[in-house]
Symmetry: C2
DNA sequence: TATTGTTATACTCTATAACTATA
DNA sequence: TATAGTTATAGAGTATAACAATA
């Protein structure tokens, strides 16, 4: 077997396909949130804040893969836009608990619907069953399930 | 319904989960290719070159979502490393067809195996059937199926 | 005149390090 | 001394515009 042709699979590796998909999703959902600070990224932060219930900045950064220094100015802008707020944790005054404002929740609800629409359009190659399967599998693999 | 509470789904949107997964995959597979120029990105380019069979730079950039100006220096470095080569298209001398060198194919085969290992480790939450389903669905959704 | 690819420049995003405040 | 967050600075990555070669 010393001169055997190296075997390279015909299909793309999963990582490459995931990156392509993620990029297409980000590009396609961006127009749905023209007023969101930092666009899709800001939306993901706000969405995670709502889901995680009063996360600290450290927890938020870890969950989203965002450096704490990046999260600082990201939250600065979400706060300036009146969509989120920092609250000092009474049990440890070093920590800031992040919450979505009422206005932030309203915006989030509007954008969730638009994002969902854009996502469905992007999944045009898949039928309904396949879409549900993909959502479930990705969520499970990412630890969200 | 004017005062109804906005409905925000409990689960993360698909775009966010895809981005998280793609980032984890890139981070985890990067150590498998310490000598590849531009790391995972270079690997994806080389892999696409092999799969697409003599793509032009324009086609390659479109497929991978990489700007043509970025692709130029990316290919410069792959060429300098002896992994890929540019060939002027005889039918249109403006075009450069990209090919993987023999050495590039060898490296690709080695890395494919390592990447696959790393990917399987990352899919720890999924059983074998689910992993196969995820691969098929992502490839189909991304247009690779 | 339009297109492929290159080069030069500027911009955005992200990470590294030093700092403040709490523990 | 260690940790949460901020600020300042530098670095990587990316896009915009001008250019050369070819169609």
């Amino acid at each position: 077997m010393t001169t055997a042709t190296p075997t390279i699979p015909d299909h793309a590796d999963l990582g490459s396909a995931l990156q392509t998909l993620a990029r297409e999703f980000a590009e396609r959902t961006a127009p749905a949130m023209p007023d969101m600070p930092h666009g899709v990224r800001g939306y993901h932060v706000l969405s995670a804040v709502h889901r995680c219930a009063h996360p600290t900045q450290a927890a938020l950064g870890l969950h989203l893969g965002i450096d704490r220094t990046v999260l600082t100015y990201l939250l600065d802008d979400l706060e300036a836009a009146g969509l989120a707020a920092r609250q000092v944790d009474p049990t440890d005054r070093r920590r800031r608990r992040i919450v979505a404002t009422e206005r932030g929740l309203g915006e989030l609800a509007v954008m969730c619907a638009r994002v969902r629409e854009a996502e469905e359009a992007l999944l045009g190659r898949l039928d309904d069953d396949e879409r549900a399967q993909l959502r479930a599998l990705v969520a499970k693999a990412a630890g969200g399930g």
